[in-house]
């Protein structure tokens, strides 16, 4: 058992047990009610499973899908058709192949098959949809929802068409729905805390930074989309087996809006939020519906029938919640991360017991084969030539300073080297392999790490998770990622803050965290874009000391864009000066600093006198 964990034991237990306890309470209360009440509670639990399914995709990816209820529809129909009694099947779905019509499976196998098929459908549908942009996914998934509605509604002989199905066996009890809901909670949390779950959350926090640490955004979204589809399918299947009737409108616009609202009100980033959102809104909804039909309040005031009260009341509650708590009731936190529980286990993780030699293996065995080389890189943006044929060479174990006045093309060059920008001409060679035009994620896997001028933190992940996800980005498992992250944080003096949300660190520490995250991919070459910009003098000194240690400990090649010559001189033996998209000089820091052409590029020719003085 490793000493370090992502979540202190008590916090992880609380995060798991709190939503399970809520599910258990609702199940027990429901089981002891009237048959009608039991039915209501069972449907609420089925709905909860769908909301948890939504959380897996929407909460972890930060991308809205309006199509997940299409998978609930698919699951519901699969389960219903597999269980429909033969006589009713013949009547309602004459076109159904006999092996399905005659199957008449039990509740459990039909639900499992529904889960598998709706999950498979989600993968098939997701393959093209997840390739579309973050903004296009809500629209394309919405289109999918409409397609499902039309297929199910129009395929009369197989699905019963728009009139739907009746006499589906009502096998779902409060107890079985409660068990499935509990399983959904466990599955959703297990996914969220898996390496794949962390990679997906990183894309939600900052897509650009996620790509820079090797994460394939499309792939991670697709995995969650599939799991989400399967969970929604289970919710749909159980609901069909509760009410005994099913139509194409059962899981359509209305249900889509309701379940998304539950997720958002509860706080989409956490499974706990999904659970409390679904249960709170369902409860309020039922209460308001009661009042809608006329009620006595405490026997004092009696209200007559008030149609529409439920909808209006719910609307007002939602509005008030979203204004007062924009992150939802849970604040987007799991139960174990809430303030009063957090104190239980906020001790920093312990660094790995023995120095983790494997973490730097890759740097050690490289080196020999040529380094990072850019040749004659040229790039223009709408006619403006930003780079006009730049060469650059960086070996492992050395630090190269890249300086030059604003607009010289420094950041653009780093973007080309790290795959964020494809050059118009020229090539980038990484240890003798031509990598020109490769994606940032692939370059990260090949050993190229970078930071950005802005810190680009993952604000809702902890410091420890933010760094560990860097190792996960290039394929490390959780335990290994944890070891790498604690090691890196220890070296960068950030271990004390490991449990804090990354967004709560001061800007200086956030920049350092950006360096830590890039180091977690164990790069052979590390590109740092103005790591010291805006730092105080004390923070600068700290940064220089840390970067010097990084050079020694990690043995990677370091490209440092930096204005402050004192920092460059401390770290770099060689400096390359860019001006107007071309290399002006390459030399030692002293040579460059006294070079008249360099001073002229910054301040104009009239300043040469100052340099001589």
């Amino acid at each position: 058992m490793s000493a370090a964990r992502f979540h202190p034991r008590q916090a992880a237990a609380a995060s798991l047990l709190a939503p399970l306890a809520l599910v258990a309470i609702v199940t027990l209360v429901g089981a002891n009610g009237t048959p009608f009440f039991q039915g209501t509670v069972t449907l609420i639990l089925c709905n909860l499973i769908v909301v948890i399914g939504l959380q897996v995709f929407v909460g972890n990816s930060g991308v809205y899908s309006f199509g997940q209820l299409g998978f609930a529809t698919a699951g519901a129909y699969v389960a219903a058709l597999l269980t429909l009694p033969a006589a009713f099947a013949l009547l309602q779905t004459p076109g159904l192949p006999s092996f399905i019509a005659d199957a008449q499976l039990g509740a459990l196998p039909s639900t499992l098959i529904a889960a598998a098929l709706s999950g498979l459908l989600a993968i098939v549908i997701g393959l093209p949809l997840m390739r579309t942009s973050t903004l296009a996914i809500p629209i394309s998934t919405f289109a999918f929802l409409i397609v499902v509605f039309n297929v199910v509604g129009g395929w009369d002989r197989v699905t019963g068409g728009s009139s739907g199905l009746v006499s589906i066996p009502t096998t779902t009890s409060v107890g079985s729905a409660g068990l499935w809901a509990a399983a959904a909670v466990v599955l959703a949390l297990a996914f969220k805390w898996s390496a794949s779950g962390y990679r997906l959350q990183a894309t939600r926090e900052d897509e650009v930074a996620a790509r820079s640490i090797g994460i394939n955004v499309m792939k991670e979204r697709l995995i969650a989309f599939g799991i989400s589809g399967a969970l929604c399918g289970i919710g749909g299947a159980l609901a069909a087996h509760q009410s005994g009737v099913l139509s194409p409108t059962t899981f359509y616009f209305g249900a889509t809006v309701t379940t998304l609202t539950m997720l958002v009100v509860g706080g989409a980033r956490s499974v706990f939020g999904a659970v409390i959102g679904a249960l709170a809104i369902a409860t309020v909804n039922e209460l308001l519906r009661g009042v809608e039909n006329g009620a006595d309040l405490l026997g004092v005031v009696s209200i007559g029938e008030a149609p529409g009260l439920a909808a209006i009341g719910l609307g007002l509650i939602l509005l008030a919640t979203m204004i007062a708590m924009p992150n939802g009731l849970s604040g987007g936190r799991e139960a174990g991360e809430l303030g009063w529980l957090r104190r239980l286990g906020s001790t920093p993780p312990t660094p790995p017991p023995e120095p983790d030699g494997a973490s730097r293996q890759r740097t050690a065995d490289a080196g020999a084969k040529g380094g990072l080389r850019a040749e004659r890189i040229a790039l223009a943006f709408s006619g403006l030539r930003v780079l006009k044929g730049v060469d650059l060479e960086l070996g492992t174990g050395e630090a190269l300073g890249l300086i030059g006045p604003n607009g010289a093309g420094k950041t653009t060059l780093v973007n080309v080297l790290s795959g964020f920008q494809e050059p118009d001409s020229g090539s980038v060679m990484l240890d003798g392999v031509d990598v020109t035009g490769r994606s940032p994620a692939r370059l990260a896997h090949a050993g190229l790490g970078r930071t950005f001028q802005a810190a680009l933190p993952f604000p809702h992940l902890s410091v420890l998770e933010s760094v560990a996800v860097g190792a996960m980005g290039i394929g490390a498992g959780k335990r290994r990622a944890l070891a790498v992250a604690t090691d890196v944080l220890d070296r960068l003096n950030l271990l004390e803050q490991a449990r804090q949300p990354a967004g709560s660190l001061p800007p200086g520490a956030q920049r350092l965290l950006g360096v830590a995250r890039a180091l977690a991919i164990q790069p052979r070459y590390l590109l740092l874009d103005e790591p010291a910009a805006g730092l105080t003098e004390a923070e600068c000194e700290n940064l220089v000391a840390i970067l010097r240690n990084v050079l020694v400990d990690f043995g990677c090649g370091m490209l440092l864009i930096e204005h402050d010559m004192s920092i460059v001189m401390e770290l770099c033996a060689r400096v390359q000066v860019l001006d107007d998209g071309m290399t002006l000089r390459v030399g030692t820091p002293e040579e460059v600093q006294a070079d008249s052409a360099v001073i002229e590029s910054y301040l104009g020719s009239s300043f040469l006198a100052t340099a001589d003085a």
């Binding site: 105080t536 010559m565 001073i599």
Partner: protein
Amino acid sequence: MLELREIRVGYEGTEVVHGVDLSVGRGEVVGMIGPNGAGKTSILRSICGLAPPTAGEVVFESRRLTGMLPEQIARLGLALVPEGRHVFKTLTVAENLRLGARSDSESAASMEQTLERFPILRQRADQRADRLSGGEQQQLAIARALLGRPKLLILDEPSLGLAPKTIDAIYELLQGLREEGVTMLLVEQNAARTIDFSDRCVVLSTGRIRAQGSRSELQRNPDVLRAYLGKQP
């Protein structure tokens, strides 16, 4: 005309501008230069009310701006031409300009005057703003600001992302404005040109003023080079 007294600006508890004094007199052109992260844009934001200073005060024509809303400050006659131009891309050039004018009655006359000054905008009056080149968009942003008849024109990085020839054209335009007596505060990373153009320059780095004065004064001051290239060995 504009005076900053010991202003400090911070975000989420971290101070990025540590007590800066600055004054701009009527008809003067003042430049503010310094490397990335120096705090130039933060100072501009605090003048315009977008990021109120945490300490110190901003006074414009003996009125305290501290605590006023950005739109109130704009109405006093402070016009900001923001970094990256921010023209209304899907509107035509003429529509962009009309939005800059103070009122319809004034607009006809001043519009004519402005189009006189920016012949390229007259040619392109009916084109969508996003069809203009970067330099033309910059001209449009300046023209839009001028239509509000500002007393003080604040320009944030007017040369950013433009080709050298286009930068020449923009500065020629600014020279014309200066000859008409327009007061300007010019913020640039492009140090050489700003020092040449301005009556007086302030050199900032990491939130503090490192040097200031006229071109010849700055040329004698080694702190200027230090602000850009760091401590001399």
